[in-house]
């Protein structure tokens, strides 16, 4: 009986493993997910990308995925299993898979690997990322227009450059509209805990913020904002269902275009190891419809989005000061990608001490 139980448990854990015999003429593209493909956020966005890939390339491609793969030694085993099972191109979709991917890529020189949001490459290992901060700049501008009190609440996950970059971009955007705009940051120290995210949202609202944004993965903060009657921004996926009268817009990850482009290159034999960091103009991230805001704010948001797309506007452009008041960027100077990817300081206007 115990054996049966364990067998059941194992089956449940790998329920997403859709094994199918590989036809020789098909490109087999595999994905490793850190969460469940229906998490409503990060992993769901990657899985939608996979589905788009299947739709776009049809018979030429066959996909396979592993979900709920924990970061660490298990990830290594999962990636190796895919590499052995005949996958030609493997996407590993979480920052924490970086070292595991590097290790397995060295073991399987004939298999191509792509790691999301990391910075380590090899001849058969590429990295890809999205300029989420472009969307956060637009959110900041909207927040500054919408907020009556001039204070936004920001639910953050972990103090990694990716998240710090988002906070800074939000504040820089907001301060172009209201130079005194402030944000309150609460670190949940988790990507995924609906209860804790809801608690953080309640704490921020109780302290008087009237617009909320999040860099965690569940729709719980959006739900709390809806209940309390304030406005909020969604994260990773369009969260409008959780707050039809609440969501202003959301940063939506749309990996599909990238997956199609890279798989096509792989099929054509033109795949090369690259480090791509695309933004709004490449369609790797899109803004959910601008809703629940006055027309002039919507027009402003659309104008800003167009300027970012065309490259006319870059969020991290001087004059900008760091939190302590020292000068960071001179007027007209733009931050380079290296600085952004290692960002460990706040810009002026953030009402928080950065955890180091």
């Amino acid at each position: 009986m115990k054996k049966i139980l364990f067998a059941l448990a194992t089956t449940a854990a790998v329920i997403g493993f859709s094994a199918a015999a590989s036809a020789a003429d098909k490109a087999k593209v595999c994905f490793v997910y850190v969460g469940s493909k229906t998490d409503g956020g990060w992993t769901q966005a990657h899985d939608l990308g996979r589905q788009e890939l299947e739709k776009a390339l049809g018979d030429k491609v066959e996909t396979q995925f592993l979900e709920n793969v924990p970061e660490g030694p298990d990830a290594e085993r999962a990636i190796e299993r895919l590499a052995r099972s005949g996958c030609g191109l493997i996407f590993t979709t979480s920052f924490g898979f970086m070292d595991a991917t590097v290790k397995i890529a060295a073991k399987f020189p004939d298999v191509k690997f792509e790691h999301a949001t990391g910075y380590k490459t090899a001849p058969n290992l590429a990295t890809y990322n999205s300029r989420f901060y472009e969307g956060r700049y637009i959110q900041g501008q909207i927040a500054a227009k919408i907020s009556q009190k001039g204070v936004a609440g920001y639910i953050a996950s972990f103090p990694i450059p990716e998240v710090v970059m988002g906070i800074n971009s939000f504040v820089i955007g907001a301060r172009t509209i209201n130079p005194d705009f402030k944000i309150k940051v609460v670190w949940a120290n988790t990507w995924f805990d609906p209860g804790k995210e809801a608690d953080a949202a309640k704490a921020l609202i109780d302290q008087g913020v009237d617009v909320l944004t999040q860099h965690t993965d569940t729709t719980a903060p959006m739900q709390v904002a809806a209940e309390r009657g304030i406005k909020a921004f969604g994260q990773a996926s369009d969260m409008v269902k959780a707050g039809p009268k609440t969501q202003l817009t959301a940063i939506v990850d749309t990996w599909g275009a990238y997956y199609i482009k890279r798989t096509q290159a792989f099929i054509d034999g033109k795949w090369e190891s690259t480090s791509s960091w695309d933004g709004l103009k490449d369609g790797i991230l899109t803004m959910a419809p601008y809703t629940n805001m006055p027309d002039d704010v919507k027009a402003l948001a659309e104008a800003t989005e167009a300027k970012i797309r065309s490259g006319e506007l870059k969020p991290f452009t001087g004059p900008l000061k760091k939190q302590d008041g020292s000068e960071w960027l001179k007027a007209g100077e733009t931050a380079d990608d290296g600085t952004l990817l290692g960002m460990n300081f706040y810009v002026e206007g953030v009402d928080d001490k950065l955890p180091q």
Partner: protein, 306 residues
Amino acid sequence: MGIFEAILLTVITAATPLVLAAVGELVTERAGVLNLGVEGMMVMGAACAFIATQVTGSPYLGILAGIASGALFSLLFGFLTLTLVANQVATGLALTILGLGVSGMIGEAYVGQSGIKLPQIVFPVLSDIPFLGPLVFKQDLIFYLSIAVVVGVNWFLFRSRAGLKLRSVGDSHASAHALGINVIRMRYLAVMFGGACAGLAGAQLSLVYTPQWVENMSAGRGWIALALVVFASWRPWRVVAGGYLFGAVSISQLHAQAFGIGVPSQFLSALPYLATIVVLILISHNRRTTLINTPASLGKPFVPDR
């Protein structure tokens, strides 16, 4: 409503599932059974409560579904460990893994749906008492149930004959057996009570705390409940104190961050665990009373000689 009241309201919501699951597990452990599957039963309860609510439109049927699913799920544990005498630790861990998997599977179609929040039950007059009224007399059914369960368990364990029998089963199953108590039956009931409480705690998560379903939404609360039982040295009111303290520190640290007090957030995040452990160790520091409260047969299998 003042900020202090607002904080306390959030604390009550955060503490209720911990208290419920911990009190249930306390009864199970008092009968000598260690069920590490609290997390799994809780998440099953959350999934079933949410699904039943979405299907029937009634959150009260959802509560029933949560309780029933937790109890049924714990029955599986009972069968394996009590009838088949499997190892309790391994089976409990398997129950958690199984619960997380099965709940994810049955709940998949319900991810992203906006749930129905359990309505508040307002006591007339009483709810108008300043400060206390909105906190205690304007809550949802599960909060009232949690209070009733704690009071009931405390009475049952220490004031009733059946409770005495249950404790004797947990302290020395051989003696209890010799006295003619049906050890296995008593343990089955205790396990199912623990399961029902964990299921109810799960229902609180998906109907009150955050009215939605996402896979793994219990996010480790079952493990915290398990730890609370041990640190409270198997006393119901200490479990309540520990649960509310944990909730209070968790919420306060979020407020402290929003105020911008400049203490590293990693430290603040660890604070609820540290504070709860320290306080509960202090109140249970008397080694002799702790020993008396520890069920001596905890985790030991019992095979009645026939």
